[in-house]
Amino acid sequence: MLLNGVRTAALARGRVGGTNEMERTMAVSLRESVQLVSDPRNLDASVEEVFQLMLGVNCKRGSGPIEPEPESVTAVVGFGGLLSGACVFKSGGSAAMKIAAHMTGMEFSDVDDTVKDGIGEICNMLAGAWKGKVPELAANCGLSVPAVITGRDYNLHVQAPEFQLKHIYFFEDTGFEVTIVCDGLQ
């Protein structure tokens, strides 16, 4: 799975603000605050916040393993601007259905378009909440619209990232994985 498409889209969105925003973007640097940007607690806090507010459940970081499932659902939201990379949400099909059920109040028997849509939105909110923890990122990093992939036996590979946070979380005995991949930092 390649992240170039979502990253390009996020970069384009980061430019929506026009010349002034880009000029200011060029003046701000995240290089000196890489420790803050890659602080794993920001991701944990973002996941807990999104799941508490949108699903009404307590969600905590765990150490795995997640019960393997034949089908998995992956949502990707790209970052563009001061930081380029992506927020990747991955879960089994039943976990995705459970999340969508909490969001909508509906029951699901397969990973249909509503489930995919819900998982895409969760990933979108996680990406937004995570970048919102660092003021420079909140103002100077755009988000792509979510892309959702479903299937069996696939892996996500990112070449030589600047940094990567890959955490496993659980709510109500249901596990999922959230990864922040940064492959460029200005």
């Binding site: 603000g17 999104v50 819900g118 909110m125 909440a129 619209v145």
Partner: protein, 127 residues
């Protein structure tokens, strides 16, 4: 409260349902909801129907929420109707852009029904 006609614009059908549920939880029981999956669809809907409240996502494909808002104002499609932007973007810059484009309110995702109540109800009452 009289019947409130709300237009909810979001490319995610799940988010549209969540926003609708939050509005009902906020006390808007007599709510008639029109949904649009894009800014373009929202503009078409506003040409055909009268609404009392507009809630729109910002980050959408083809026409984003800010352009949707600019088009509403430029085409004078919903004069006096409050517009609230609902988005994952939370920086001061994004809020300023939304206000400059003509939004009266701004809600950051994820949100609570209480936040929707605090930011939407005063606008509905004032309109």
């Amino acid at each position: 409260m009289n019947e409130i006609r709300a237009l909810i614009v979001d490319d995610s059908s799940v988010m549209r349902k969540i926003v609708e549920r939050a509005l009902r939880q906020a006390g808007l029981d007599s709510l008639v909801v029109h949904e649009a999956g894009s800014g373009t669809e929202g503009l078409d809907l506003l040409k055909a129907k009268k609404v009392d409240l507009i809630l729109s996502d910002i980050n959408m494909p083809s026409m984003d929420g800010l352009e949707f808002l600019r088009q509403i104002r430029a085409q004078n499609l919903a004069p006096g109707v409050p517009v609230v932007m609902i988005t994952t973007e939370s920086s001061e810059d994004h809020v300023k852009q939304a206000i400059l484009a003509g939004a009266q309110g701004y809600i950051r995702k994820p949100f609570t029904a209480e936040q929707v109540k605090e930011r939407v109800l005063p606008l509905v009452h004032a309109a």
